[in-house]
Every structure is written in structure tokens, then in C-alpha cells.
């Protein structure tokens, strides 16, 4: 320890620039959101205190439940597929293929685009009458598909877009995890006559499990917060069947001017994500230690 230095004091001083921003733009809005959720407030007029009314309304709001269900559908569709896709991509780029450099770039490339660009692009590709997907289908003698306008397909189409867009990020995480596994393990397995599939199953998958847990938690949180892709691609349609919770929160707050109600729903979403994360962390974390 350098004389005259006080670790705690210096620590606080050095983290102050971050702390100030964090308090002002994260913690304060978070708390003020909770505060607002007990009020009826249209942003412009004076707020009136309504206690737990907003939360009470919420549990009898059919639109809240349906939006939550649509969000859950999206989470269930995207989480496993994105994990598997990211893992397979990572396997491909850490293998011995001469194309692995090219593949790494190709796989990660979509991730650099903004949400709006990706969503607009795919909305055009999937357009029912003029989109290139359906043109191809028609040319090979198939019936065109209502990618975004059929309630059974619309969410899958958004999920597919999300897969193309963000799988590259999981690939990077898994790639880093795979590269940390010592080469000797694979070598000794190979000497013992293990096939590629066997070494993936018995070496790679168990040894990247901490990365898998990380990816899973990040993915679930990201998927629960889905909004942009849905909003741009389907607008929540057809007839509200892809309206996700964050979209409903946004509309309630900024279109219908029910700020308190909107904040209350945000807190429910927050609690759900918190619970899922804690559950995962404890369940999967315990397994890893055992």
C-alpha cells in the first residue's frame, strides 16, 4: 500500500464519474418508475395517487395477458434456437475448416446492423405479394406464404429474423468458451479413438457449460425485452397477435397517456425477468458445482 493512499476513498473517487451517470440515468429512473406506478398520470397534468389500482387493473386486463403470452412465445421460440445456432457456428469457426475466418465474418456480419435496418430488410423479403421469398416459392411451383400476415406464422418470421440477426453474438461468446478448453483434452480423446461427435458431446458441451448459462440468461433477458423487430415488421399484427409486452407498455404510456399503468406493467415485466434469472442462476449454478 502506498503511504497516504486510502483504497476506499480512492476507489470511490475513481468510480464517481460512472456512479454519477449510473445513479442519474439508471437508478433514479428505476425508482421514479416505481413511484409513478402508484399514480394516474398523463405526463402533462398533475398526477393523482391511486395506490395499487394500476396493479389491480393489470391483472384483469386481457390485453396485458395476451401481450405477455406473445412475449413468452417469442422467448420460447428464440432462446433455444439462438443458443443452438450460436453453438454450432462457434464449432464451425473453432474447427479446422480452411473457411473458418470467412465463416466467422459471415456469421457475425448481420449483428453490426441496427434493428431497424434488419427488420425493414426482412419485412421486405417476407412481403406477401412482392417479397423475394414468395417470388422464389412461386418460381419453384409452391404456394406463396403469408409470412407476416398470418397469425400462426408472424411470430416465427420475427423469430427467424432475430435468429439471423443476433446468432453471431452468441457465436462469439461460445467461440471464446471453446477456445479456453485445453487442446490436450481433445488430443488424448483422439488418441483413445474418440470421434468428432463424441468429443463434442463429452468434452466441448460440458466444458462450455458456464458460457451456456451466461448465454441463456442474456438471451432470455433480451428476448423478454423484444419490441423493435416486432414493431417494425408486423406492427403487432395481424390483429394484435404479435403485440409483445414492451410494445403494449410503450403504447399505453406514450400513445394512450397512461403513464402510471405503463410503469406498473414495466415493473411486472421486471419482476418476471428477475425471477427467471434468479431461478436459472441457482438451478444451473448448483448443477455446475456438483
Amino acid at each position: 500500500m502506498i503511504p497516504g493512499n486510502k483504497d476506499t476513498r480512492d476507489g470511490i473517487i475513481f468510480s464517481l464519474p460512472f456512479l454519477v451517470v449510473y445513479l442519474a440515468f439508471m437508478i433514479y429512473p428505476l425508482l421514479s418508475g416505481l413511484y409513478i406506478s402508484f399514480f394516474k398520470w398523463d405526463i402533462l397534468s398533475t398526477a393523482s395517487f391511486v395506490g395499487l389500482d394500476n396493479y389491480r387493473t393489470l391483472f384483469s386486463d386481457e390485453k396485458f395477458y395476451s401481450s405477455l403470452w406473445h412475449t413468452l412465445q417469442f422467448v420460447l421460440m428464440t432462446t433455444p434456437t439462438l443458443l443452438v445456432a450460436g453453438f454450432l457456428m462457434a464449432l464451425a469457426i473453432t474447427g479446422s475448416s480452411p473457411w473458418k475466418g470467412l465463416m466467422e465474418n459471415v456469421f457475425f456480419f448481420p449483428y453490426i446492423f441496427s434493428m431497424t435496418v434488419v427488420s425493414t430488410l426482412w419485412a421486405w423479403l417476407m412481403q406477401k405479394d412482392w417479397g423475394i421469398f414468395n417470388q422464389v416459392l412461386i418460381n419453384i411451383g409452391q404456394n406463396p406464404v403469408s409470412w407476416l400476415t398470418n397469425e400462426r406464422l408472424a411470430m416465427w418470421s420475427v423469430a427467424l429474423t432475430t435468429l439471423w440477426w443476433t446468432a453471431g453474438f452468441n457465436m462469439v461468446l461460445f467461440g471464446a468458451g471453446i477456445k479456453q478448453i485445453p487442446k490436450e483434452i481433445y488430443e488424448s480423446a483422439a488418441i483413445d479413438g474418440a470421434t468428432y461427435i463424441q468429443s463434442v458431446r463429452h468434452i466441448t458441451i460440458p466444458l462450455v457449460s458456464s458460457t451456456t448459462v451466461l448465454c441463456l440468461i442474456l438471451q432470455i433477458i433480451a428476448s423478454f425485452n423484444v419490441f423493435g423487430q416486432v414493431y417494425v415488421m408486423t406492427g403487432g399484427g395481424p390483429h394484435g397477435t404479435t403485440r409483445v409486452l414492451v410494445q403494449y407498455i410503450y403504447e399505453t404510456g406514450f400513445k394512450f397517456f397512461k403513464m402510471g399503468y405503463s410503469a406498473a406493467m414495466s415493473y411486472i415485466l421486471f419482476l418476471i425477468i428477475l425471477m427467471v434469472s434468479i431461478l436459472q442462476y441457482t438451478l444451473l449454478g448448483r448443477k455446475e458445482n456438483a
Binding site: D42, S45, L148, G235, G237, P238, H239, K255, K258
Partner: protein, 420 residues
């Protein structure tokens, strides 16, 4: 030590002096006043609007108007937060139907003392009255944009239709003729959410109920009034075009409907007058425009209206308000430039201008402004409008039993109104 304190105080005085010195010329100077503006116009509308602002700036030397475009999707979000913080620009565009979100909280300036009687008398009565709340004027109407009908003349000729259809029955017959003779669609009414909700369904539904003498909501906008024979007739017609007569595509979103008509794939198309600008630029499209026909008997059409308003500021500078009023006055009295975007101007003097009369199509539907339906006055309107669009989308694309659909919609609207 004392010297140091003195120095600091001196420096502070100097600094504040400089601050005031900097602020001073702005209010005192003889140069032009710079005022700011937010508009929500994009695409064709945006180009015409920008051209008008440019012309306004060139036409005089006292005021410089700076136009800061906000993407339409985020416009009201940005406006609302700016109004709450009292940092909104000097002039803003607000749809007449959205005024009710801002007037009760006192976010907009009452304009009565800034407009003289002659100017007021030049405005058409109905759109002007729509900007009054409790007798006070909170904005001036820039345009009226009702839903109108566009028809493809070539397709009609090929199908041997000589008269533009008017009644529900005539539409069905004409559409069937078009389909038989050309294989194209009769009508292109969008019925599925895409970039936009299926608002066209809600607009037509509202219009057709009014055409029968009914009204979507009751007179004071406190309860739904569409679960009756009027609503059923309107909904049934919209459904039958798709499912019984099969002359309107299903799963058709807003952009697709526009493209269907642009490509000459449908004979009759319903949209707001803003479509005119795009349609007339479409090469090879031989079309006509007309006010919304009396499909259900009477004359009535959903309409929106862009209005120009002045936000209340922390320190309202009377000079800036005056400049803003000059701008608003200039913009509304040059409505013939705005009419290029398709919209119907609101000032009587504009209607008389030869430039206005020379514009094609506009004259054909200008009469529609006379039977434009005002937006119901309830804070719940935005939610009702969006929710009805979703419900109508379901009812039309799924051919839901109209009675069941109307009952469900009625209950939903009641719940929405109760939640405000």
C-alpha cells in the same frame, strides 16, 4: 486570502456580465427572429412542407423559420416530453384528433387574442370549430384530409362500367364485373396490420355508420353506439367483399393495398387524400378521385386535420409568439402549395386561387371537406381507434359473426372508456 476571494467574486461578476451581454442582442437586435418548428411530415408531405417553409423564409426578412423534422413514429412521444418540460419549439403540428391530449393540461397557448376576425372568417367553419375547446381556440387548421375513393379508369372501361359506383350494391356489382372481365380485384381495402394498423377499416366503419344516420360513439363520446343495425350493415359489407363476393384480397396491409392500386391490380381504392400525391406520380396509372360515395345512403367521411399550434413556454416571448402567428397565417393562406400533397386547404381565399383550381383531382374531392366527420372528443380516442382497427381486422379477415364481433367490440370500448 482575502485578495483571492475578491478575485473570485470579480471573475464571477465578469462572467455573469458576459452571459448577459451574450443574451442581450437576441432580444434587442434588428436582425431576423429565428423561430423553430417541429413537423411530423415525411415522404411526399415532407417535401412539400419543406418547400413551403423555404418559400416563407424567402418571402420576408423578419422571421427565419427552422424546420426540424422528427420521424412520424416518434413525433408525439417527442412532442409530449418536450411539452412536459416546456421546451417545445415555437410552432408545432398537431392532428386535430390529438389536441385533446394537450389542451386540458394547458400545454398549448390559446390563440384567440392573436387572430383577428377577418382572418378567422376566412377559415372554413367546421375545421376551425374542431380546434376550439370550451370556446377557446387552441390551434388553426392547416388542412382537412378525409378518406376518399380512387378508381382506376382503365379497369372500369375494360369491365364496361360507365358510372362510378355509389351504393353498397353498385360497388359489389361493379367489382364483380371487374373481376370477371379483367381478373383483377374489385376493391383494395386494407384489412391487415403491417407498418400501420388496418385503420382504413375503422375509418370506413365509422364513415358508413354515420352515412346511415348513426354515430360510432354517442354524442358526448362516453359510450359506444355502433352495436346496432347500422354497425352490422357496415361490418357485413366489409366482410362480404372479402368472403362472399371475393372481390377484395384478404391479408392485405396498408402498403400492399396502395401498391395493388398503383399496379392497376384493383379498380376501387379507399384512402386518405394524402395518397393523391403518390398516385399521380405513378406512371401509367389512369385514375380518378371522388369524395367517399354514399355507400350506406348518406354523406359522411372520416377525416383527419393537421393543425398548427403554439406550445406554452416557460418564458413566453411575445415577439416569438407574434412571429409564430405570422408563420401560421402565411402557411394556411398558401394552402394551394400544401394541396399538392393531396390535402384540402382550409381557407376560403385559397379555394378561390387559380393555382388551386388548376390542380387536378383536388377539385374532384374538395367537396368531401363539407361532410368530414370530427374526431370524437374523448381522451380515450387513440386507444379506441387502435383497438377497433385490430378488432375489425379480425372480424373481416376471419369472417367473424358480425353480431358477435360488434358485441365484443362494444364491451371492449366500454372498458377502454371506463379506464380513463
Amino acid at each position: 486570502m482575502k485578495k483571492q476571494i475578491l478575485l473570485v467574486v470579480l471573475a464571477a461578476i465578469l462572467a455573469s456580465g458576459m452571459l448577459f451581454a451574450q443574451a442581450a442582442p437576441e432580444t434587442k437586435a434588428e436582425g431576423p427572429i429565428e423561430i423553430t418548428f417541429w413537423s411530423l411530415f415525411t415522404g411526399g408531405d415532407g417535401e412539400f412542407f419543406d418547400a413551403m417553409v423555404k418559400e416563407f423564409n424567402a418571402s420576408q426578412s423578419e422571421i427565419v423559420m427552422k424546420n426540424d423534422m422528427v420521424k412520424f413514429d416518434n413525433y408525439y412521444t417527442k412532442l409530449t416530453t418536450a411539452l412536459a418540460a416546456k421546451t417545445a419549439p415555437d410552432v408545432v403540428v398537431v392532428h386535430q384528433g390529438n389536441l385533446l391530449n394537450y389542451v386540458p393540461s394547458g400545454s398549448l397557448l390559446a390563440l384567440d387574442s392573436y387572430v383577428d376576425a377577418t382572418t378567422l372568417a376566412d377559415f372554413q367553419q367546421a375545421p376551425l370549430d374542431a380546434c376550439r375547446f370550451d370556446g377557446k381556440l387552441f390551434s388553426l387548421p392547416f388542412d382537412v384530409h378525409p378518406i376518399v375513393m380512387y378508381y382506376n379508369k382503365d379497369l372500369m372501361a375494360k369491365a364496361g362500367i360507365t358510372k362510378v359506383p355509389q351504393s353498397a350494391q353498385e360497388f359489389i356489382e361493379a367489382s364483380q364485373k371487374v373481376k370477371q372481365a379483367t381478373g383483377k380485384w374489385g376493391t383494395a381495402i386494407d384489412n391487415t396490420t403491417g407498418v400501420y394498423k388496418a385503420y382504413t377499416l375503422a375509418r370506413l366503419f365509422m364513415s358508413m355508420i354515420a352515412q346511415q344516420g348513426g354515430s360510432l360513439l354517442n354524442a358526448d363520446a362516453t359510450a359506444p353506439a355502433f352495436n346496432n343495425a347500422y354497425g352490422e350493415a357496415a361490418l357485413k359489407w366489409l366482410q362480404d367483399l372479402v368472403h362472399v363476393y371475393k372481390v377484395n384480397p384478404t391479408e392485405l396491409d396498408y402498403d400492399a393495398a396502395m401498391n395493388t392500386f398503383k399496379l392497376g391490380e384493383a379498380a376501387f381504392y379507399f384512402n386518405g387524400v394524402w395518397a393523391t400525391g403518390t398516385l399521380e406520380q405513378t406512371a401509367g396509372l389512369n385514375f380518378g378521385a371522388a369524395p367517399l360515395p354514399p355507400i350506406m345512403g348518406g354523406e359522411a367521411a372520416w377525416a383527419g386535420s393537421h393543425t398548427l399550434a403554439i406550445p406554452v413556454q416557460k418564458n413566453q416571448d411575445p415577439k416569438r409568439v407574434e412571429a409564430a402567428m405570422t408563420f401560421i397565417n402565411w402557411m394556411t393562406s398558401h394552402g394551394e402549395m400544401w394541396a399538392k400533397a393531396g390535402h384540402i386547404p382550409t381557407r376560403k381565399s385559397v379555394a378561390q386561387k387559380s393555382e388551386m383550381k388548376a390542380l387536378p383531382y383536388r377539385a374532384d374531392y374538395a367537396a368531401a371537406a363539407a361532410f368530414a366527420l370530427p374526431t370524437p372528443r374523448t381522451a380515450a380516442w387513440e386507444e379506441i381507434y387502435g383497438t377497433l382497427s385490430d378488432k375489425l381486422e379480425f372480424a373481416v379477415t376471419k369472417n367473424q359473426n358480425p353480431k358477435a364481433a360488434l358485441a365484443d367490440m362494444e364491451q371492449t370500448v366500454k372498458n377502454i372508456i371506463a379506464s380513463y
